[in-house]
Every structure is written in structure tokens, then in C-alpha cells.
Symmetry: D2
Subunit: 334 residues, 4 copies
């Protein structure tokens, strides 16, 4: 079976490491190079599932042989990624960009977009927006929080079940790997263990533009309030989503089951999803619960993902599978 | 200085242990007995602050010399506590009941209330309802979640700043000690570590009646949606409270600072409160943040407490101090 | 490819759950039944690697169709397992027993061994004692601690490099999953988090007989001191082994590399092994470090395993692979 | 009661923060200044026990008014501390140095010692070497590991109960706060949680010289092997100490109880000490267990401390109390 050479830019971050791990075990992609300026010359040890541990040499971004691969995954920091996307395209490679630079609203970044990079690229959340990914030269991989929230909300928004102009409120909590692998005081073990706090409050998180834009694309007219929290866990996101309804809903779980009956990476469950249910898997696990004892019909959605898999590297591989006509599930833990 | 003999019923639970620790270091209360049927005959080691570790012998509930003490703290399970409250009153002791049996709504319990127990007793949240505590034969100690939520919300409800009939939504997260010390599979370390999940969803938690009743007492007309989550930490509760406002609010922090200027156990802060800020302290730490990018004026409150201290044992001692005319802060870590 | 029906007794413990997970993803074994008296009638959700989550119905031990399978894995408690081993043999099935009942020294158990169970069965630590496993009707699966310790020590003992009659001292630390999934106070999250302690001290742990017997089989004359500790982690064991040497050793790593050059499940490393290197993998990861500044030549070995995989379920599948002539690595994460 | 002005150099590290917390609640010391070049201009929030939270302004080391205080605590990094000790002495202050610069062996540092600093200063482990501390201009505060190990070993070494020339082997494990508060990749939460590993192996840890020197002072002729490990906890050290004995010992606990009958900060216990028993307390908690099933008489000691309290800041305050003729227990949680 003919193999497809791919490369990873920014492999030393947690998302980059997860990408290298998934690609090292992928049935058709070959990891041709991995870059990490902060750790160039070192070797990255990644766990390739049943295939065991693989050692990936890290080179400098500047020395990446972009022209030798069919696809480049960019896990470079927000703001710094888009220029490398341009270089990869110029070199003839296609790109999955894990940064927010090319997502709707550009993650609030004002960094200029290179001339050869399309100003609008497909938003790679296949369960909602699969069209256009297969042909795209560049795909913008969604943020971790938006993935957990949009997949849960979309069926209700699309069906017009959400009260018009209402405020959809999301309290979400993420493991620390979502904050990246660069050493910061507030990410030290002693600061995080036995602790819990909100951050990025006031509805000003970088992920809001892509969520608002996506809800509008789905026909939503609701406001969105998003409040992230930092959990003392390594990985995983749980989003607790409160949805004012246009009218009482007899079978909210049915709405989810119908919407995702044919999606291999969405799990609809009667039980409340927990982080331990989803870590190391490329799934969104969701349940829906009607709210009692309130005047207006209200629904709660609970949505769990692994922020590094379905929230980043796994979804990037899922997009790459689509871009190269492979089975969407190739090399991905369901 | 004359000392006051007190006793603890249900000392082997985490709240009971915390009570014994605080009372062992209290300047005027003397711990005369501590009961725990599950561990009778054993000795409980508790940390009495600077005073070091004290050993407390555990006796059977039935053998507690209720008549020998001026005050009984009941940390017995919900439903099982109220009968012991009756016995203590008959024996001539006053009581602080940490269970939900005598709180507004009786925690949803249908357990009959003994004849000699008042059907309505002061709800011991001094920062909001100090009147009546000093004289009361029995005080109902509030739940941990209600303490964190009501103290934050009250100034806005009292001042009529909350939009009438609106839905106030609370996403709260608690450490596992809130679930007690009786061995259950879901509380094992392996089940809780690296995990996070909601529980008691659908707005059906035992703490809701006392919160709804208290909000009404404060003049509130809002609905309340309360969604608790289980954190992989030992102790601490963070409540994230979303409040629809009647009108935009220029200085929400000012509202809190004015309301609690003279309260020793309420900390108003510019920074976001974290669990590590409050553990082992008898305080509620709160901040307020206006929500941007939404059509209707909305406020978020973030409130942190130690569920075993201000959420249980510390508040119980605070009530006991009031009941016996002691300084409200006696023996309590601020 | 023809498939082999197997069953699991005692599937609700952590080792039993891991067995069901591995067997659900195994290329040739079919999980025909799984028993758990404490949870009969319930469904066990297990993660079968890339194959995703599988649901395994739990039945009562008594109703297990032992005659319908070629192999039974018994993960029943120590003392309770051997009788079921007898029943399985009578029903015509072969057995891998994960309990200590049939290990050398019988884990100190005095429980009578059924007439149809061989009094001495192969000790299923393939890297050291592969002979006899393939033909055996019953194999005793080693303990988790012994696996981590014996694999590291064996090459030095076999080569006569350990000082005669010396004391080999092992300080080992295990995650709580090693203590099983039955609710006990000391295994509650609040008791384990931010804590660390020794247990089973005085050289009296159940695992000592099988370690002493195995060292003797390898030609060792040394004494063994084994001190286990409880870690605030879910899974993983690290053994720190201090070895008095007969003479200074130029290249201890070379001794290990030569011994295990052809073993797929042993990793010899220059770096110090950490639990995160081995969790969810069927490997023993080992390094060796000479001790400086002491009068007598001394070596330290550091050995890490996942107590539920190479320390239990993974090794059981490895033994089963050998018993049925499959590739030793079939269905096992290296 | 007349108060004594003191200052802290290096207050932003975890030991420095603990010092500021203890001093803010001390009955006779007044914290006059605290320095932290990395965070100068910021305010440090510390918890002063029952006294509540205090805010400590951080200034630059260079601007510290060394002449205005009677005592300077230096919690500056190893190698960087001794020069500041010299400056403090020149300014007329006495000093407790928490670094290893002035301990026996100087922590292996070759950094030149200023002319006005005595080349040999009292080693401030009062339970073993109280003489000379009261009068000393400078005291070297012991390391955390040495404190836990030496206090446990000393009574047996002093009484000649340890086998001559034998190898005493220590496997110790510490929480991450022992590694300091400067951001490093290996101290990030995601790297430490669910992990455990040894470090500084081969008997080459910086703390060995002070332990070897102290054992010799106590009359010991034994070798010492010290192997530290990193625990996924914030604070606490457990040392597991294996001691070859000159002869079997009938009552090892009695030896410890006799030795420390009058020491307020040493707890001898029948039970195995755990980190949760000692955190936030200025104590060493120890038990002794005879080893069975070995040819030569062997003893195991288990010793637990809080690395930031008895292992650093608490012991520093204990030394300061002695230097100024205060009760040794003043301001210290037993």
C-alpha cells in the first residue's frame, strides 16, 4: 500500500508530541520529519500504540524539508504558525494548521496572512463541516474547547430548538496540557495540585470568535458565554453547557443520536461523561439532561473530549485522512 | 477564663474530624466527647493548629453524655441527625446541626422531626442571617455549596440588581471530602484521579431547597440552576455563578466590598479566587466580573471556600461562638 | 484465522478489567464470558485500543460456561482462586491463574489445593522461565512486584555477580490500583492524594515467597529485603534495587542488554525509568547504576512496570499466547 | 513584649514563602523585609495561621536594609547565598542560612567564602547538635533529606548499635516543592502527575557530604547510600532507612523514645508515618521495624517530615528561636 510522507512543525509541545505518536502508528502516513527549535538535536520518545515506543529526531523549523512531504501539520504557536503555512504551501505541501491563525476570526490575531495563504480556509470539524476538507490545500484545525462545545450544541442549533437571542452559557474545565509544555510558574505541579480556578473570564477567550462564527453558520442567533477553568489533571476537557430552549424538548438524547448516528467519533450516552471515559481517544462523548424547577424550558449538555486527541492531534489526523481520501478513522483510537 | 464543655456526634466523617481539630485548638470550648459508631473504641488523631496533634477517643453515639455538655455539634448523616438533636435538647444541651435535616426545606428529607425540636430553626449563615443565632437552642448549619453561592449572590439579590424572574446559573465543583469518608467505589483514588465529571444534574441536588428559600428571604425572584461537579482534589469548592442583571452594573466589586466591609470571614478580591487560596481557612473568597459580548447585562461571580471549614466545621464553630457570646472569630483560621 | 474462546473470572477488579480490555482487542482470542459476583448483571465498559470501547456483560462466577472455552483467566482474589482453577480444569479448559494461590510458596496461603490441580505449576514469567509454559494446563501468573524485581535482578544472579549471602534490598512503590477495586477507607482519594507511606513492612509481604523461590532457582544465595510503598498514582510500580556485588562491575548495562537482547518486552535504558514511560504497556523498563563512595562494590537497579499490564493482565495474555502457540506479542502494547 | 526585626532574602521560593508565613504569625519576630529579585515590586500573599493572610511586599536583594534587622534568613540559591551572608554579618545582623553553602562539605560547592564568614558554623539540627547555636553569629540550616534521615539514625549510631563499616541504605521520596519554584519542564504538572522516578542516583546527591560528616560526628563508621525519588505531591519527604545492626535489638522503638523523650518536634510512633501526618508541621515522625527472614540483624526506620517546615523554614525559625533565647517552639506548628 503506497505511503504518504508527512511532517510536523512544532513537535515538542504536547499537541505536537501527540501528533508524532499518532503518525508513528498510522497505517499510511510516514512521519518524515518533526521540528522543535527549543529542542532541536534532541530525540522525542513517543508511544505508538501497539507498535511500541518510537524515537523521533527533532530538527530546527528552518531546516524542515517541506518540499519532501505531501502534508505538513503545523503545531506552532498561535501567531507564529501562519507564516510557516505559507512556506509549506509554496513548497508544494498541503497543510493542517493546528493554531488559531486561520480559524474563523483568526483567534483574534492581527498577524498578517501571507499572500499565498487563502484568507478563508475550511474549518476542520468534520462532524459539522465536512464539505471542502477533502480538496482543501489548507485546513484550520479547530480549538479544543470549540470542538467539545460545538459538536454538542450543533444539532439543537441547526434544528432551531434553541431560544432565539438567548444566552447559551458554557462552564468548561481543561487539563493543564491544554496550556502547553513551555515552563510557566502557574503550571508547576505545586501550583496546580489540589487547586482549581477559572481563567480568561469576562467572555474574552481566544476561542470565542471561532465558536460564535460557527454557531452563526449553523443558523444560531444565540449569545455565547464561555468560562474556562484549569483542572488538576493532565488531559481532558469537560464542557457543561446550559441551553435555553424555544420549547420543551421531549427527547433531547434522540436529537443527538439522530444527528450523529453515522459519526464514528461521537458517543451519545445516557450516563454523564467523565474525563476518564475519553482520554487517549478521538471521540466526543455527550449526554443531554432536561433542567427541572425552572420557569423557562432549559437543557443541559455535558461534553467530554481529550484536548490533545479529538481536541488537537487526533482531529488533525482525521482531517488529514479526509484530505488524502483515506478512511476517516485510519490510525485513530475510537 | 471559664471553659465551655462541648461534644461532637459523628466525629469520624471528614466534617466531624475537622470539628474535633478546630475544637481541640479553641480558646474556650472544651471537647468533652466525640462519637462514631463505625469506629467506636478507636482514637482519632486530629491536628490542632499550633497546638499540635491531639488524640480524641471515639465512643458510641448511644453512650454520649449529652447532659454533661453545654453544646452538641451533630455531624451525623442527613436523616439520622434530627433524632439526636432531639435527645441533646432533652438533655439540656444546645445544638449546632451540620446535617440538612433542619435547614429550610429539610434537605428534601421526609424524616419526622421530634416533638421537642423546633420546626423552624435559625439558618446559621451569619454573614446573611445573623439575627436569632445568639439565642437559638438549635442552629441549622448551612450546606457547603449554599455557603459559597449565597454569600456571593446575596448583595446583588438584596439590592434588586438581579433581573426579575431570570435564571441564575451556577456551575460548582467540589473536592471529594464533600462526599464523606464512607468507602464507595466512585470515591477510590483510581476512580477520581485524572478525572472530572458532573453529578446530581437536572437541578435536583439536596442543597437546592435551602438555596431557593434563602434567595426568596433575600427578596430574590430569580430561578436557580445548580450543577455540581466532582474535582480530583481533597477539599475546596469553587462556584462559578452567572447572573442576569436588571441593568448594567458599573462597579460590581464595590457592591461586594460595601456589603462585607465588616465581615471578618469574607474576602473580596480583584484576582480570581482559587482553591489553594482558601483551604484550611474559614473564609469565602469572591470576585465579580462583568460579561462582555452579550446582548443582556450579565455578571459572573467566582466564589471559593474550604468545604470542610467555612462549608461545614468552621461555620459550625462560628455559629457556636455567636450562641455563647464569644468573639465570632474565636478559634477560627481567617 | 481460527479464533480461540476464552473467559475471565473476577472481571470487576482492576486486573480483571484490564484483561477484558486486552482480550477485546486481541487478534485471536474471543472473550466468551466475564464474571463478577459483586457486579453480576451489570455491563463493564472497557477500552479496546484502536478498536474503541467494548461493553462486556458481567455474569455470576457460578454460571460461567467453563466448558465452552479453551482457556480461563482467573483474576479472583488470593485464596478464592484455586478452587475455580480446579473447576475450569475439570471442565476441560486450560487456565492462567493471576492469583498467588499457585505461585511458589502459594502466597503464604494454606488454602487446600483441589485434587485435580497440579501442586507445582509453571511460574509464568517468560523472560526468565519460558520452558514448560507452552504445554502447561495451568500457569501461575507472577505478582506485580516480583515481575519488576526478578527481571531486573536475574541476569546478575544467574551470572553469579551478586555477593554470596549478601542482602539485596528493594524499596518499591506502587500505584493504588495494585490494591484492588474493593472500597476501603485507606484507598479513598482524600486518604491517598498528597500522601505517601510504606506498608507490609518487616519483610512480610505476600510476594516474598515467590521472589525468594525464584532467586534460588536462578542460583541466588542472597537474602532479600522487600519494602513496598503506596503512591498517589493510579498505576505503575517503580522498584529501586540495591545489590551488593561479588566484585566491581565494569558494564552493568551490558549485562542487562546481553540478557534481554531478544526479549520484546524488556527495555534497557540509559535514562532512569519513570512510571509515565511504562503505563499501559507490557514492558519492564530497567537501568543499572554503579554506586560511588561506598567501601564494597554495590549496584543499583531501577525497574518500572505497569502493575496492571506487565504486572498482571498483559503478562497473563503473554502466557496465554505461549500456551496456544501464538506470537508472544499478539495483542500486547509494547 | 519587645519584638525582634528580621528579614528574609529569597522570599519567592517555596522555602522563602513558608518562612514569610511562619514569621508573619510569630509571637516575637517582626518581618521587616523580604527580597526576591525575580518578583521585586510584587506582593507575596502568605497564610499566617489563625492570623489569616498577610501581604508581604517583595524588594530587590540589593536594596534590603540589612542593618535594620537583628536577624537575616537567607533562602537564596545554593552558591549564591554565602556572599549575602557576608553582607548581612558586615551590617551587624546575625544569619540563618538555608542554603548548603555553609553546611559541612559546603554542599560540594567551591564558591569562595567571604573573609568575614566563619569557615565552620554550627549545623542547625537542634535535636542532635544544639550546642553553639544560641551564641552563633551564623547557623547553617540543614537540608530537608538530612533532617529526616539523621534524626532517625542518630540514636542508633550514637549508641554503637549499627554494624561497623556496614552500608546504611536510604530510599527517600520528596514532594516537588523541594525542587523549588523556578519553572522547569520536568516540574510541570503534566510531567509529574501519575509519575514517579528516582533522580541524583549513584550516591552523588548534594546532601551527602553533610550527612556523612554528621554521621561521623555521631561516631558512625558506616557507609551511606542515599537514593532520592520525586513524588507527585506538593510537600513532604518519607525516608525508608535500612540499618545493618551490630546485634539484634529487642526494643528499637524504645531507643528512639529514650533519645527524644524531651524533644517537642520529634514524634515516635508505632504506626508507619505518612506524609499527611506531618505536612504543615515542624516535626519529624519516626517508627522503627525489625526486619525478619534475613541472616544478619537488620532494622528499618521510616521517617517523615514536611520538607518546607522541619526540612527548611520551620527549622530555620527553630534555630532563630534558640539564637535569641526564645522558647524553641515559639511560632511553630507542632
Amino acid at each position: 500500500m503506497h505511503r504518504i510522507p508527512v511532517g510536523v512543525l512544532g513537535a515538542s509541545g504536547y499537541a505536537g508530541q501527540e501528533l508524532c505518536a499518532l503518525l508513528s502508528a498510522h497505517p499510511q502516513f510516514d512521519l518524515a520529519f518533526a521540528t522543535a527549535n527549543s529542542r532541536q538535536g534532541q530525540v522525542l520518545r513517543v508511544r505508538a500504540g501497539l507498535a511500541g515506543v518510537r524515537e523521533v529526531p527533532l530538527i530546527a523549523n528552518e531546516t524542515a524539508p517541506l518540499g519532501d512531504v505531501a502534508l505538513v501539520f503545523s503545531a506552532l504557536p498561535h501567531g507564529a504558525s501562519v507564516d510557516s503555512v505559507g512556506l509549506a504551501l509554496s513548497a508544494g505541501a498541503r497543510v493542517v494548521d493546528l493554531s488559531s491563525d486561520l480559524r474563523p476570526g483568526h483567534g483574534g490575531s492581527t498577524h498578517p496572512i501571507p499572500a499565498n495563504v487563502p484568507n478563508s480556509v475550511p474549518y476542520g470539524l468534520p462532524e459539522l463541516f465536512r464539505d471542502g476538507i477533502a480538496e482543501a490545500p489548507v485546513v484550520a484545525n479547530p480549538g479544543c474547547y470549540p470542538t467539545s462545545i460545538l459538536v454538542a450544541l450543533a444539532p439543537f442549533v441547526r434544528a432551531g430548538l434553541v431560544a432565539p437571542d438567548a444566552l447559551v452559557s458554557v462552564a468548561a474545565a481543561s487539563g493543564v496540557s491544554g496550556a502547553g509544555a513551555s515552563p510557566k510558574l502557574e503550571l508547576l505541579f505545586a501550583e496546580v495540585t489540589e487547586n482549581f480556578r477559572a481563567y480568561g473570564v469576562g467572555n474574552a477567550h481566544r476561542h470565542l470568535p471561532e465558536m460564535r462564527d460557527s454557531l452563526a453558520r449553523l443558523g444560531g442567533t444565540c449569545d455565547l458565554l464561555f468560562t474556562p477553568h484549569l483542572l488538576p489533571v493532565d488531559r481532558g476537557i469537560l464542557s457543561t453547557i446550559t441551553v435555553p430552549l424555544a420549547a420543551p424538548l421531549a427527547d433531547p438524547l434522540g436529537v443527538l443520536r439522530d444527528a450523529y448516528a453515522h459519526e464514528p467519533f461521537v458517543e451519545i450516552t445516557d450516563a454523564l461523561p467523565a474525563l476518564q471515559d475519553v482520554v487517549h481517544r478521538n471521540v466526543v462523548r455527550i449526554t443531554a439532561v432536561p433542567v427541572q424547577h425552572v420557569r423557562t424550558p432549559t437543557l443541559q449538555l455535558f461534553s467530554a473530549i481529550d484536548n490533545l486527541v479529538k481536541g488537537a492531534a487526533g482531529q488533525a489526523v482525521q482531517n488529514a485522512n479526509l484530505m488524502f481520501g483515506l478512511p476517516e478513522t485510519a490510525g485513530l483510537p475510537q
